[in-house]
């Protein structure tokens, strides 16, 4: 079957979208487990919810890509604006005592980054079909961001010295 320019541009876009969403899902899942291990239940639950949303979006992208042959890229062969995919929270941005507000702000930044990524992809690609899909994804991310902003606004104010604690760290080994 001959591959058209549209197919090729779209396939590349969808490969990136799949990786973006699956990395987001994996990462939120891991962060939730790590928060579980450190007994920060509200943040763990929130990350789990974000993982579920990423999973939901992943299924949408997968459905779109279902009939296509996508390029098989290694983790480091994707083209991201930063070190990791836009919606993937850095492991290093966490602290076990982070508040729900901080967790949501982290997620909000990720949604904005994803929106920016999809929008820029839409502007950059010369393929109208791909641009349409990318813009649609960007709109969805924007919707998530707005929802997160509403949730953040509804939260009570959190303390300023969250990382302070009275006990010393443990010596496990």
């Amino acid at each position: 079957m001959a591959t058209t320019a549209t197919d090729s541009a779209l396939a590349n876009f969808l490969a990136h979208s799949l990786e973006l969403e699956s990395e987001a899902r994996e990462r939120y899942g891991e962060l939730a487990e790590s928060m579980d291990a450190h007994h920060n239940r509200p943040v763990a639950d929130f990350f789990r919810r974000m993982a579920a949303e990423a999973e939901h979006h992943l299924q949408e992208v997968a459905a779109l890509a279902g009939h296509m042959t996508l390029p098989q890229l290694k983790a480091w062969e994707f083209d991201w604006p930063d070190a990791e995919p836009p919606e993937t929270a850095s492991y290093e941005a966490l602290h076990y005592r982070m508040s729900l507000r901080q967790a949501m702000q982290l997620a909000l930044a990720n949604e904005h980054a994803a929106e920016r990524y999809y929008r820029e992809f839409a502007n950059r690609t010369g393929d109208a079909g791909t641009a349409a899909v990318a813009n649609r994804f960007a709109d969805e991310e924007s919707g998530h961001a707005a929802e997160l902003e509403r949730m953040i606004a509804a939260l009570p104010a959190s303390g300023l010295h969250l990382r302070e604690e009275d006990d010393e760290p443990h010596m496990p080994e």
């Binding site: 790590s34 579980d36 450190h38 983790a75 492991y91 290093e92 966490l94 080994e173």
Partner: protein, 278 residues
């Protein structure tokens, strides 16, 4: 690689969940190891992760392969013994800066020199995390956050890349925990490199060295091909700030032991005994 179902990175994670602090850089290395294994299509049953003791040395249990969690500082020795005895296996040794450069320092330099075909990933957070944050051999000399050395360790930190080069390591790279995909790429190259490959990962400790979150701003990524000239590399490794990442040095050197060294002689044990007969 076989036509078997292609495994994804998450398929290489074990069911044991890491107990590292949220924010710890070692999560990145764990992520990168599984990504590299997936990219290489590595056979889980023929891969062994060996470690010593420390936060980072917990890693083997988190990967779905064979593993050996040994005693403090000796992971490299266990890994080399295993690889020499079982050349068919893929062997990775893992550990931290205290484990690898202090208590295990002698094994590190000799592993560089011996050039057994294993990969060594040192996760360097410049601190002993499991014992409450004491200075390690890579801690800056004025770091005064430990009760053990309240005025800072007061001695110059090791430069692991320079140490590895001087000891004969043929493959030297550096990664940063903020960039797991780059670490994954380096691990994949390290595993495929025939010989001892040393991957030094700057891996932040959020608990004892929160100031290391600043590393993000100073880390650079090298696009240049690795150096092959030891003089040039020595100059770079002795004078750099230690935050340049990428594959920094590579040379081809014969591995030890020579391939095929263990072919048995026909009737050998009997002949050995017979030699003692008068």
């Amino acid at each position: 690689m076989t036509d078997a179902i292609r495994l994804k990175a998450k398929d290489y994670k074990s069911e044991v969940k890491p107990i590292w602090c949220p924010g710890c850089g070692h999560f990145s290395v764990h992520n990168a190891i599984t990504k590299a294994m997936a990219a290489l299509g590595i056979d889980k049953d023929r891969t062994v992760l060996v470690s010593g003791i420390g936060c980072s040395s917990r890693l083997p249990a988190y990967v779905d392969s064979y593993g050996f969690h040994g005693v403090h500082g000796r992971g490299l020795a266990i890994a080399q013994g295993l690889k020499v005895a079982r050349p068919d296996l893929t062997v990775l040794a893992l550990g931290g800066d205290g484990d690898g450069f202090s208590i295990g320092g002698n094994h590190f330099i000799h592993a560089c020199r011996r050039n057994v075909d294993i990969t060594y990933i040192a996760m360097d957070n410049e601190v002993y995390g499991m014992t409450k944050g004491q200075a390690s051999p890579t801690t800056p000399m004025d770091w005064d956050h430990s009760k053990l050395t309240p005025h800072g360790p007061g001695v110059r930190p090791f430069k692991p890349a320079a140490l590895a080069l001087a000891s004969g390591a043929p493959w030297i790279a550096r990664g940063y925990s903020g960039n797991p995909n780059q670490i994954a790429k380096l691990i994949a190259e390290a595993v495929e490199f025939p010989g001892f490959s040393f991957l030094h990962v700057m891996s932040q400790c959020i608990t004892f060295c929160p100031e290391q979150t600043d590393w993000k701003a100073i880390v650079t990524e090298s696009e240049a091909p690795p150096l092959a000239d030891a003089d040039e590399a020595a100059k770079q490794f002795l004078h750099e700030d230690g935050f340049q990442t990428g594959l920094l040095y590579r040379e081809q050197r014969a591995t030890w032991p020579p391939p095929g060294a263990t072919a048995a002689e026909e009737g050998a044990p009997g002949k050995l005994a017979a030699a003692f007969r008068v």
